[in-house]
């Protein structure tokens, strides 16, 4: 049977955070879209396709950020048997998969005019595709068991094994020859992107992060409700 670390405290916290995170997401998305589409210049080489970057790069960051958070939660779930940590990973997975899909599709739409190809099997693209399959595999695995706790445990192990892919994605553009350009924002010597392009990029990144916070809190709520339903049905059947 599921015992909650403190679902009541979580519900209070979620109720306090949700209106702010949802409101800030909307505001930042509107401001970010304004900068991305209107108030930033076209690139001198790439023209207006550079505007794809303001979706593609934040989505790529989120795909790694969400997975890393899920893996940390998986470790907490396995070590301390913290049930909310298990539920967090389960709640976050579809959002992470969504960001990874956005990253892959927009990357393809950007590659077609700029590289002359929709897809290449190079290190960066392939490792991100593997990340996408890790998300899908985790989601399938968690739901493949009759006992939800066994599903969670199996899923958590998969998340921890799959974390090896995160540094591979990050450094793939340095370790191998790839069509994909190297990092231009997350660099030791500071970003090399010009300020008029860095502004929309960072605003969109914060907006995507707040979107993730909002949706994950709502999904966690839905997961807790599902667990309660399950518990009630089990106790009713056992009486």
């Amino acid at each position: 049977m599921h015992r909650f670390a403190n679902p009541a405290r979580f519900q209070r916290l979620a109720t306090a955070i949700l209106p702010w995170s949802a409101g800030a997401t909307v505001v930042l998305l509107v401001v970010g879209l304004y900068f991305s589409l209107f108030a930033s210049p076209p690139d001198y080489q790439q023209g207006d396709t550079v505007r794809i970057m303001y979706i593609h790069v934040p989505a790529a960051w989120m795909s790694l950020f969400v997975y890393t958070n899920m893996a940390i939660a998986a470790a907490c779930g396995l070590v301390w048997k913290h049930p909310l940590a298990d539920l967090f990973a389960k709640a976050a997975a579809p959002v992470g998969a969504g960001f990874t899909a956005i990253c892959l599709i927009t990357g393809s739409l950007w590659g077609a005019p700029m590289w002359g190809t929709w897809w290449v099997w190079d290190a960066r693209l392939t490792s991100v595709l593997i990340l996408f399959f890790l998300y899908l595999g985790y989601m399938a695995l968690v739901n493949a068991f009759d006992d939800p706790q066994r599903g969670m445990r199996a899923g958590n192990v998969l998340l921890l094994v799959g974390i090896v892919n995160v540094p591979i994605i990050k450094f793939s553009v340095e370790w191998w020859n790839t069509l994909h350009q190297p990092a231009s924002v997350m660099r030791m010597d500071g970003p090399t992107v010009a300020a008029p392009m860095l502004v929309p990029l960072l605003i969109m990144a914060v907006a995507f992060t707040l979107y993730f916070v909002t949706v994950v809190l709502l999904r966690l709520r839905a997961e807790i409700v599902q667990r309660r339903i399950q518990t009630m049905r089990l106790t009713q059947a056992a009486e």
Partner: protein
């Protein structure tokens, strides 16, 4: 325009053309919007339906609570009684 992209007021058609890359830029924004709005909608839907199910289940529970406090009240436990005996016998 904040960063001076040239013309302060771009004609709508020119803006939509995205310098000739409209077929790549707009689908990118469209796909992102579709996935993010779709995820949010699916989340809200499952949350609402889950909460409705939970309310319905809790609605059938007062019978049990009353039985817990006053075991003698047989009529209140009648709702749950058949299922209970079936499970125990089985």
């Amino acid at each position: 325009m904040l960063f001076g992209t040239g013309e302060p007021f771009l004609p709508m058609s020119e803006f939509l053309a995205m310098g000739g890359y409209a077929a790549f830029v707009w689908p990118s924004y469209g796909v992102a919007a579709l996935i993010m709005v779709g995820l949010l909608a699916a989340t809200l839907k499952s949350l609402r339906s889950g909460e409705a199910t939970l309310r319905a289940l809790e609605g059938s529970r007062p019978a049990r609570r009353r039985r817990d406090r006053a075991p003698a009240s047989a009529s209140a436990s009648a709702v749950n009684a058949p299922a209970v005996s079936e499970v125990r016998e089985g």
